[in-house]
C-alpha cells in the first residue's frame, strides 16, 4: 500500500522537480508499481494537475504526456494507424482494462522495468523521452541511464516510415511476459527489441539485407541477447521463444 506523510499536487514542473530532490519523496504515476513498495514516503508528488494527460499528433510526431494512461495510448486512433496495431498489441495483455485505465505511460517508461511491454514497443520506434532538466534523450539510451531525480515530462515518437510489429509470450494471459519482442522495419534497416529476458529491453539494429533469410536472422538476433532464468522460465527457454517471436513478428510485418 502507498504510505506517505504528505500528498502534493504539483502546480508546476519546477515545484515537482524541487520536491523530488529529496530522497524520501517520490513521484507517483498510476501507483501500480509504487504501491507494492514497502516503504513510508515523505511527500508523494502528483503531476496530474499539469496537463500531461494528452496525446498530441502532428505530421512529424506524437507527443505523449507522462500522465497519459495506458488505455488512452491503446485506444488512440493515430497511434494505432501509425503502428498498424502494434501499440495496442503491446498493451492489451497488461493485467486488465481497469489497470490500464489507472496506470500511466510515464510511470511505465520511467520505471524501465524488465517486464515492460511498454518500454519494448517504444524502443523499437524512433522514440525519445523529454526530461525536465535532462532534455530529449533517445529511448534506448534512457533505458540504460541510472535512476535519477529528474522528471519524465513527455514521450515523443517521430513518424518515420516504419512498419512495426509486436509479440509477447506469457505463461498465462494477463501475467508478466516471459519474453517481449518488438520489430520495426524501414529506411533500409531492421530494429529488433527483445525484453523481459527477464532484464530490461534491449535493441539490435541491422541493415535490411539481414532479412534475406528470416530464419537465420531470427536465430542470430535471438542469440545476440543475454537471458536469465527465473520463476517464469529458464534462460534457454526464453532464447527459444525469442527466436520464434522474432521470426513470426518479422513475417507478419513483411506479409502485411
Amino acid at each position: 500500500m502507498l504510505r506517505c506523510n504528505d500528498y502534493i499536487f504539483a502546480e508546476s514542473l519546477e515545484e515537482a522537480y524541487k520536491l523530488n530532490q529529496k530522497k524520501n519523496n517520490v513521484i507517483v504515476g498510476g501507483n501500480g508499481w509504487l504501491k507494492l513498495r514497502k516503504r513510508q514516503w515523505g511527500t508523494v508528488i502528483d503531476l496530474s494537475g499539469l496537463g500531461l494527460d494528452k496525446i498530441d499528433e502532428n505530421d512529424e510526431e506524437f507527443r505523449i504526456g507522462a500522465m497519459v494512461c495506458l488505455s488512452d495510448l491503446e485506444n488512440h486512433k493515430g497511434l494505432d494507424k501509425y503502428t498498424c496495431g502494434a501499440v495496442k498489441d503491446s498493451l492489451k495483455h497488461i493485467v486488465g482494462t481497469q489497470f490500464r485505465n489507472t496506470v500511466t505511460v510515464g510511470g511505465s517508461i520511467y520505471g524501465r522495468f524488465g517486464f515492460s511491454d511498454v518500454l519494448s514497443i517504444f524502443m523499437a520506434m524512433d522514440s525519445y523521452v523529454e526530461l525536465y532538466k535532462g532534455g530529449i534523450v533517445v529511448m534506448s539510451e534512457f533505458a540504460k541511464m541510472p535512476y535519477d531525480r529528474d522528471i519524465l515530462v513527455n514521450i515523443i515518437i517521430k513518424k518515420k516510415p516504419l512498419k512495426i510489429g509486436y509479440s509477447s509470450f506469457r505463461n498465462q494471459s494477463t501475467d508478466f511476459p516471459v519474453v517481449t519482442c518488438a520489430v520495426a522495419i524501414g529506411e533500409g534497416r531492421i530494429a529488433t527489441v527483445v525484453g523481459a529476458r527477464p532484464s530490461k529491453a534491449d535493441i539490435r539494429t541491422d541493415s535490411a539485407e539481414a532479412l534475406e533469410d528470416i530464419n537465420d536472422y531470427a536465430i542470430k538476433t535471438a542469440k545476440s541477447f543475454d537471458y536469465q532464468s527465473n520463476m517464469r522460465a529458464s534462460a534457454e527457454y526464453r532464447e527459444h521463444i525469442a527466436k520464434v517471436l522474432i521470426k513470426r513478428t518479422v513475417e507478419r510485418i513483411i506479409n502485411n
Binding site: M1, Y7, L36, V44, S48, G96, T97
Partner: protein, 156 residues
C-alpha cells in the same frame, strides 16, 4: 487533507489522511461491495468507476478523485440485479466473491463498446479473476445479457 467528491451522486466532503486508499475510503462510506481480493492490482474485485471509467480502487490514489464522481455497485443496483439474474441463470458463479468487481466491469463494457465481439468481451474482462470457475458460465451470461439489452433497445 480536504476532499470533496460524489459517491453514487451523493456529495461527500471529508478530511482524510494523505495516504488513505480509495478502497478503504469507499468502504468507510458504506460501499461494502468494494473489496480487496489481492494486494497486487491484479484481481479486479475492487473495480469502481471514476468519471464513468472503470479503475482499480486499490491502486488509484484517492486524492485524484477530488471534485470527481465515483460510482460503485451500490449506485447501480437495478442494472446489477438485472445482469446478476443472467449470472444466476447460467450457474456462473460459485462462491460469488468476485461478482461485484466483475459486474462493475461488465456494465462498463456495455457502455464502452457498442457491439463487442467475443474477443472484445474476453479482452475487456480479462482483468477480473474468478478462482472457482473457468469463466465459461460468466461468458455465456455476458453474451445473453448483452443480446437481451440489444433486443430491448431495438424494441424501443
Amino acid at each position: 487533507m480536504e476532499i470533496k467528491l460524489w459517491i453514487n451522486d451523493k456529495l461527500i466532503t471529508d478530511n482524510v489522511e494523505p495516504d488513505m486508499p480509495m478502497l478503504e475510503f469507499l468502504r468507510d462510506k458504506g460501499c461494502l461491495s468494494v473489496k480487496r481480493g489481492c494486494e497486487t492490482s491484479n484481481c479486479g474485485l475492487c473495480t469502481v468507476w471514476l468519471e464513468g471509467k472503470p479503475v482499480l480502487s486499490c491502486t488509484m490514489p484517492l486524492m485524484r478523485a477530488n471534485k470527481k464522481h465515483i460510482t460503485t455497485l451500490e449506485g447501480l443496483r437495478k442494472e446489477a440485479a438485472e445482469f446478476g439474474a443472467f449470472l444466476a441463470d447460467e450457474g456462473a458463479d460459485q462462491c460469488g466473491y468476485c461478482n461485484p468487481g466483475f459486474i462493475m466491469n461488465v456494465l462498463a463494457l456495455e457502455r464502452d463498446i457498442e457491439d463487442p465481439t467475443d474477443e472484445d468481451i474476453k479482452e475487456y474482462l480479462s482483468g477480473n479473476l474468478c478462482r472457482c470457475t473457468g469463466y465459461t458460465g460468466q461468458f455465456r451470461a455476458v453474451k445473453k445479457y448483452l443480446a437481451h439489452k440489444r433486443s430491448v433497445k431495438a424494441d424501443e
